[in-house]
Amino acid sequence: MIKSEKTDQELVKLALQDKEQFLPLMNKYEKPLFYYIKRISGFNKEDAEDVLQDTFIKIYKNLNAYDENLKFSSWAYRIAHNQTISEFRKRKTRQHYFYEEKDLINLADNLDSISSENILHIKVDIENTLAKIPDKYREVLVLKFIEQKDYKEISDILKKPIGTVGTLINRAKKKFQAEFK
């Protein structure tokens, strides 16, 4: 896998001149976007890879639309998010929401009702709760507490005002806690 020292903005400019230069960008975001797609969709590995492929192709096609005032990662997450939602609407199937132990610890540390000490015992309960709550709440919980994005990044990814993101996160926490009990 090729690693690059260049900034994302520089890589975007290079990729516009030479498609081979798109590879370092894909290498950098392949794993994070793959897991993000899985976390919000519940797609299996193959479906998530299909969505990821479509996401990267869309990113490449729209490179000229990239606004440098935005973090490239936020823009890439936004496209991955939209692609996942659109693919989900087409397929209407979800297999299983899978979260790693560290994801759930991150989540538990921010939700009063869960102790991260015995996380393995309640892993399934947390996954079931995340599967049960509305998509809009699961998405912000994943972005905030698992992907560790700040409010500004979440606002840029979901294309919602920062105030609305704050409100959504609070409601999502309450909804999660109510369902978890």
């Binding site: 896998m1 516009l16 498609k19 081979e20 798109f22 590879l23 894909m26 290498n27 392949e30 793959f34 890879e49 990821l52 492929q53 990267f56 192709i57 490449y60 096609k61 729209n62 490179l63 000229n64 639309a65 606004d67 005032n69 606002s155 294309k159 919602k160 005002p161 920062i162 105030g163 609305t164």
Partner: protein, 254 residues
Amino acid sequence: MDLSKKILEKITHDKITPKPRYTFLVKNYLVWAGAGLAIFLGMQAVAIIIYLVKSQDWDIYQSVSNRGEFLILSIPYFWIISLALFIFLAYYNVKHTRSGYKYRFSTILIGYFILTAILGGTSYAFGLGESLEGVFTEKLPVYERMMQYRHKIWQDPEQGLLIGKMFDVSGETLIIRDLERKEWLVDISSTTVPDFVKTKPGILLKMIGEKISENEFKASKLHPIIPKHLMKKPPFDKSPCKMKEIGACARNIR
């Protein structure tokens, strides 16, 4: 082979290329142009709303029997609904700009109101609201008919208010058909009537006076409804026409 390399191969194989920059720039300019248009239209609507509210016959407010109805009829519904549509147009376009998602609906709404109020108020001060309303009334018969509800408060002969279209003149008597299509003989001997009124059958007249009988009304004040920007033109204001010059005078005020 890792997924990234596979995707790069697909990009090469399918000859996928980035869309040209100008397509995104054009789209961005179009949504900003749409937002600008919504502000421009909103500004005109506000100017006309201010004009219509201010030009309502507030001097007869004390004499009308139903003040609630007077207030309701004073609201320029058409322009308020239009303004709401322009707000939606502005919101849609701002939301579709690159950074439009950062703003809440309430922020866009308040910003739009402040901007259109300032611009619309300025336009009104320069007489744009009055001129535009005059143009709409003159050029769009549908608009004129639609706005006639505002005159309904004058249809109250018991309270000394009458409105109607003049369709004939006989000496000091005008023959009027009111909004309910009832005919009235209006005695104008106690009031001054601009000469051109007598030459313009179909002109809408507002009158204050007294109901004499079931179809007779004595006017003490009479006010023809024509756009003010036409009335301002000389020689109407400064040198009233003589009867024999009425034809030329009527042409002048057009």
